[in-house]
């Protein structure tokens, strides 16, 4: 396929490059600004006219954030909840997805449709009663309040089912004839073939759980079990001082940078996961 390299075409191409890269810089700007801000003093951060770079790259803001909120504890809480929820999601979604994809039984289509519909139910519709249920079960301020609802992810079931459908039936039938139980089939044969889907689902689930805000704010209010997101929000409180954006920036940096590092390390898997979703969902 030949492309005529006319002047106008070159100009268009150049324009495209510029647009994309300038756009990219603009997109990154908030993060850069956050990092710069986390090293500024209160005077610098509220100065008019604005200062671009901090005069000294002090770590005092981070110290102060650690003094205001118990960062290690919050981090642990968020991490623990995210990991547990993710593992739970992977297990339950694989099991359900396999059952719906490869086990022929009456009502499997109906159940799949049912689970699919829950994907389009707005979470707000279930919020108030979920809170009431968690409250009555006495789970407020316990990790279970966040983990339990997160164990079933209809999106996860959907994804695993679609993926598992593509596993050739012959493999499974052969295993069944050999006397393998269904669970063994799932564990030893199906799942190893589904690692991309598992990886994507795992990453999605983890990211979503880590940055969830409303639900943890409602059910985990005690400082021992609070999550990182809810804790960061307290940097806006009166105690922290309303104008102390430098603390807010430092706190944001603490919340964002680890996630970004993980993201950059696994970005191909993550983006691939979204792509898969797009292809399946769009098809």
């Amino acid at each position: 396929m030949k492309k005529r390299k006319t002047k106008s075409w070159l100009a268009l191409e150049a324009g495209r490059e510029v647009f994309l890269w300038v756009g990219g810089i603009i997109f990154l700007l908030p993060f850069v600004w956050m990092i710069l801000g986390s090293f500024k003093t209160q005077a610098e951060i509220t100065r008019i006219p604005m200062t671009l770079l901090p005069e000294n790259w002090l770590l005092s803001n981070f110290y102060n954030v650690f003094a205001l909120i118990d960062v290690p504890r919050l981090f642990f809480n968020s991490l623990f909840i995210a990991v547990t929820t993710t593992l739970g999601t992977l297990i339950t979604s694989s099991m359900a997805g396999y059952a719906l994809a490869k086990m022929r039984f009456r009502g499997s289509n109906f159940l799949f449709l049912l689970i699919f519909t829950t994907m389009v139910i707005p979470y707000f519709l279930t919020l108030i009663p979920s809170y009431v249920i968690v409250y009555r079960l006495g789970l407020i301020n316990s990790y279970w309040a966040v983990i339990l609802p997160g164990l079933a992810n209809s999106f996860g079931v959907f994804m695993m089912r679609q993926f598992i459908l593509s596993v050739p039936n012959d493999l499974l039938d052969a295993a069944r004839i050999d006397g393998y139980g269904e669970f063994r089939i799932l564990w030893k044969i199906v799942l190893p073939l589904c690692t991309p889907a598992l990886a994507s689902l795992g990453i999605f689930s983890f990211m979503w759980s880590f940055q969830d805000f409303l639900w943890p704010m409602l059910v985990l209010s005690h400082r021992d079990v609070m999550t990182l997101q809810v804790g960061i929000n307290y940097l806006q409180s009166v105690r922290a001082g309303v104008l102390n954006y430098q603390y807010a920036m430092a706190g944001s940096a603490i919340a964002i940078i680890p996630v970004l590092v993980v993201f950059l390390a696994m970005q191909d898997k993550i983006i691939q996961g979204v792509t898969i979703t797009g292809m399946r969902g769009g098809a």
Binding site: L111, V120, S154, L214, Y245
Partner: protein, 297 residues
């Protein structure tokens, strides 16, 4: 005779195993989705302050919402406006970027996707700081070019728009990747045929690529609208619905009504209304796309 017995056992055993495999998901979904959905509908007909016994109120809560509750009426309009603006900008930008990026380097993909994975709370803090009328980044840049400097989050006219901008920034990367995937799957033959027939780039895109992209676009639209209607964290972090009622959205109002004012019944009624609207819009979108009405121009 013996063979029949064996098959029966296998079938029941298979069904039982299937049920067992589905049990975790189904039980959690029942407790935290199906049950609550029913419960929300049920409570929406009562007045309940969470600590005392609920009182039956019939359609009273719903009538109240549309006649007396000024906050709700404004929130409804705001939410619709917010959704229209946010979806239009996000999908428009995502589509544009998807077209432009097609064969580009991976770096750009990563850059545009980064806001998607970061904490909404932290992003809210950063943007709140950038929106500061005095020492914030945006007004500094604007004043640098001698442009007017709005009060952003403190001005009723711009508060909702400010939230939209941040949310577009957060969402574009995600939908761009999905649309990219959609674009990749399209056969180039039709597009090339149109080009050789003398159609310009724009016409070929319009007549060939976009219609072929319909399924992906529909998917993206529905997802975005669904998410948009439930916007909460952005409003919570940036404006708390203010100033006045200018950036109040239904989800934020529902949260306040249920968890600050302790009016569970009214909160549930609001959730139901929100869901019905979202459902109606999704159905409408699917109809439009099937007819091809939107895309025929």
């Amino acid at each position: 005779m013996e063979k029949k017995k064996k098959t029966l056992n296998k079938k029941t055993r298979r069904t039982l195993t299937a049920v067992l495999f589905l049990l975790p998901v189904l039980s959690v979904l029942t407790v935290f989705v199906f049950g609550p959905v029913a419960f929300t509908f049920y409570i929406s007909f009562f007045k309940w302050d969470f600590y005392t016994t609920p009182e039956f109120n019939g359609l009273g809560n719903y009538i109240n919402l549309f006649t007396r509750n000024v906050a709700f009426q404004t929130a409804l309009i705001n939410t619709v406006m917010y959704t229209i603006l946010q979806v239009a900008m996000t999908i428009g930008l995502a589509l544009l970027l998807a077209f432009m990026i097609t064969e580009r380097s991976n770096v750009l993909r990563i850059v545009y996707f980064m806001p998607v994975v970061t904490s909404a709370v932290a992003d809210g803090l950063i943007w709140k700081y950038m929106y500061e009328p005095h020492y914030g980044l945006f007004n500094y840049a604007l004043s640098f070019f001698s442009l007017p400097t709005p009060a952003w989050l403190l001005d009723s006219q711009t508060s909702l728009l400010s939230i939209v901008f941040m949310d577009v920034w957060k969402a574009v990367g995600f939908y761009m990747i999905i649309l990219l995937a959609g674009l990749k799957g399209l056969p180039r033959t039709y597009y090339e045929a149109a080009r050789t027939d003398g159609a310009s780039t724009w016409q070929s895109v319009r007549m060939v690529t976009l219609p072929l992209l319909k399924p992906a676009l529909l998917f993206v639209l529905i997802m975005n609208v669904l998410g948009s209607f439930q916007v909460f964290t952005s409003v919570f972090m940036l404006t708390q619905g203010g100033p006045g009622y200018s950036s109040l959205t239904i989800s934020f109002l529902t949260y306040k009504t249920a968890f600050n004012f302790f009016k569970m019944g009214d909160g549930c009624a609001m959730s139901v209304v929100l869901t019905l609207i979202v459902l109606a819009i999704s159905v409408f979108q699917m109809r439009m796309f099937r007819k091809g009405g939107m895309m025929e121009y």
